[in-house]
Symmetry: C2
Subunit: 489 residues, 2 copies
């Protein structure tokens, strides 16, 4: 099974593609730059959605749905916004297809009065609506989230990590004061951090982006940055304080408590199907997927082993009883009772698909009233008495979840280092790389230079970072604290 997966040590990029395709998470679509999310991959996205949606609702948000198509003129209303997205737009210029008189071929028929673009993000169309919905401070805050598809033209496709179309959620909130908007921006950053660390078992460094890395139209952008197995950074979620920029662009004012008209304060925040790619790159290995238990739709795969028919009947009966007892704990179990493949094939498939826990049960196990359990992430094997398994599975899965986080945390810690000169940063990036903690006071142009020369970018100003002063490694200017530079996806 794993013979189709290139080892990480040989070619990391190819390993990633192989895991995604062999584990049937996604496939290339016959549409340039796009992917198909297959059932195994979509099940992970559903688990992500389920948890995040719950967390959004617990923090007072509701869901809504806004149009896919945005009039071109809307995008143009916020100058930085259109500049940031213009070249990525898919443009709808016509409605209908009809046979051309000359060639007989189908051609676009009716030219539209105004072009539409497929949403690259929805701030503009949402704020056009908020203008109708917000009049007084009593209408605020407005705490809305949308689950939607997004299109940003993209030629260099990487399944999940970089595709023209992707799925995401985008929160868009409106507030009466700058302080409330900032509070919301940080609240959602922490929701993302909580979700990614505690469900995806993916440790992150959270904090603010540099000015040069802000979302087009934001006054501040916050991020959570995770470290992949090749020590590159992956931006796993962002939360933006938009200030009054979109309210001004769409003329959205409200009567405040003092009866004065004021522009509304805004935030937006999002995570996408990119997280599925991040999950693969954080936990998986040369044999395939490793899914953390809390994100596994089916956390346990039970493989009954049998040759003769009477063996099959006895083993399956016990397997079904065991599965029922585990399901009674609220955890789903797959029983792989296929006749036409060998146990070895089934084991390999369990590993490829990443079931957190595998249980093997054969005729000899039955005699000894036991079964063999294997943890996917560590390959650790345990033999347990049959009548103790169901009761122990929930705790075992929670331990796996914790251990997977700890293993990823160790990697993050071991490959995060204080770097004190530009020369040292160069050496660090030319070696294994990782997160370099450097003093920095450069501007966007300086960041561009580092990117061109070292392929490393400014990732985040850590919020929990020590407030130790120093001198910028490039410009020598005063720096209030260290920031993270890394090569990134």
């Amino acid at each position: 099974m794993a013979k189709n997966i290139t080892p990480r040590a040989k070619d990391y990029a190819q390993w990633y593609v192989d895991v995604v395709r062999e584990a049937k998470l996604a496939d290339y679509a016959p549409v340039k730059g796009c992917m198909v999310i297959r059932p195994n991959g979509y099940a992970i996205w559903e688990a992500i959605q389920r948890q995040l949606d719950r967390m959004f609702k617990e923090t007072g948000h509701v869901n809504a749905y806004f149009p896919l198509l945005i009039p071109q003129s809307f995008l143009e209303k916020e100058a930085e916004h259109i500049e940031g997205f213009a070249m990525e737009c898919a443009v709808v210029t016509h409605s209908g297809l009809a046979q051309s008189d000359s060639t007989g071929k189908l051609q676009p028929k009716n030219k539209l009065e105004e072009n539409y673009v497929i949403r690259p993000t929805s701030e503009t169309v949402i704020w056009a609506m908020y203008k109708n919905w917000i009049h007084s401070y009593r209408d605020l805050p407005l705490l809305i989230n949308q689950w939607a598809n997004i299109y940003r033209w993209e030629m260099r496709t990487r399944l999940f990590l970089r595709t023209a179309e992707f799925l995401w959620q985008e929160g868009h909130t409106a507030h009466a004061t700058a302080a409330e908007a900032q509070e919301e921006t940080i609240r959602m950053l922490h929701v993302y951090r909580d979700f990614v660390e505690n469900y995806m078992a993916m440790p992150v460094i959270h904090g603010e982006k540099s000015e040069g890395q802000r979302f087009p139209g934001a006054v501040a952008t916050y991020t959570i940055e995770a470290m992949m197995q090749d020590f590159r950074a992956l931006q796993a979620g962002t939360s933006h304080n938009l200030g009054q920029n979109f309210a001004k662009a769409f003329d959205v004012t409200f009567q405040n408590v003092s009866n004065e008209l004021e522009y509304v304060y805004a935030t937006s925040w999002g995570v996408s199907t990119r997280l599925v790619g991040a999950l693969v790159m954080t936990h998986s290995d040369d044999d395939g997927m490793v899914i953390p238990p809390r994100l596994a739709a089916v956390p346990v795969c039970l493989v009954p082993i049998f040759k003769k028919d009477d063996e099959k009947a006895r083993v399956l009966e016990t397997a079904q009883r065991l599965a029922r007892d585990i399901r009674a704990q609220g955890l789903d179990v797959r029983i792989d009772d296929r006749d036409n493949v060998t146990p070895g094939f089934k084991f390999a498939e369990c590993e490829l698909y990443g079931y957190p826990l595998r249980i093997e049960l054969g005729p000899r196990d039955l005699e000894a009233q036991q079964a063999v359990l294997t943890k996917r992430y560590s390959r650790e094997k345990l033999t347990l008495p049959l009548d103790q398994i169901a009761a122990q599975v929930p705790e075992m899965l929670e331990n796996i979840q914790r251990d997977m986080f700890d293993r990823a945390k160790t990697r993050l810690t071991e490959h995060t280092r204080e770097v004190n000169s530009y020369e040292e940063l160069k050496e660090f990036m030319q070696a294994d790389g990782g997160f370099a903690l450097v003093h920095w006071a450069g501007d966007a142009k300086d960041e561009k230079r580092v990117q061109d020369e070292l392929k490393a970018t400014h990732r985040v100003i850590p919020m929990n970072g020590v407030k130790e002063k120093g001198k910028c490694i490039l410009t020598g200017k005063d720096s209030p604290q260290r920031v993270v530079f890394a090569k990134a996806y």
Copy 2:
């Protein structure tokens, strides 16, 4: 509150729009033919999704996601299919926007080698993928569903009922035999019927569509047809047996058990956000929404009544205890504790938004240790001892659910009539209308004539209909059973 809703008796179409907008279910978007689904409307769609998704999974289906954009050439591969959808396509012709040299305005930049259309339905792109995934009978059946947005250009917008963009689910299954495909087609028709009748409290007539009303590319289309309060029909869900049409168009063959290559058999089936409109038109009244309990995110609204501060404290304390006890039964409760609006305003809003059950609790109720409960759908009021309410709420809600279905069923039954001549059908349609059960043996041209003359269309050949033979009311030809004609949405 309800003063902004036009009564049904005065203008049914305007009543519908008023309910949808005043109850904040949806709003017109600043994009031609499109709507914004507001949080109150989206919560209903989420409830629909939750139940249907569970039912799809219980019948063995998994979710996946396919691309939004479809190459124009794909649509053209199935002749009926492209004919059916060509004029509704939104066509993407360019990527990127850039300033034009002459005008300085933003213009579409790169012309695409091949145009894309935004999916009007996904058979073509899905079967292009199935070609890669299906090789042997062992790969079948393939039981995949997708939750997605759809675009079909549409100028006459009716919120939820007819919009250019809408949300839906589309099942696309692949099978080894014609019999299995037919079985799946009927299975999903029954899933829809079960869901719509038992969760939406909306009785339907289920059966096959006439040849003229088939999905473009199907060999048979099945439908569930509901009756709205103005006695018009609304097609609430369809299930299609696609035969081998799409497999042939995309050359999808498999090795069958006899080791022969054969084309794969297909089905597709879908319901959309149109169901939210059907829900409004089935149950709501001149005061606003009426939501059946099983689809209400929050089935109970508790209105505490108070004037003085000490009253407020005492009433709220009891309200919170009562809400906690109801929540312990697995049912959510809203406590409307706002100070700045009157109880009368709160009652009217409860009615407008359609909470199935309202509980009023004031200082005098507290003294008498009771509260007043009002069923939204019937206005029936009951006074119950405080300590009995929580235990009785689940059963009351189930009764409301059943009674709402019965009321709608009575309407369907009373306005479904056997009609025995074309003249009689004309009179029936000119009067109140409803479902006319007529003998029919006409073709698509004959159906067109009825539509032009009487505005009525062939809706369904009832599956549970009596197999009574007769003569077609238009052509006089032999008819094996009565079919339904009605005016429709």
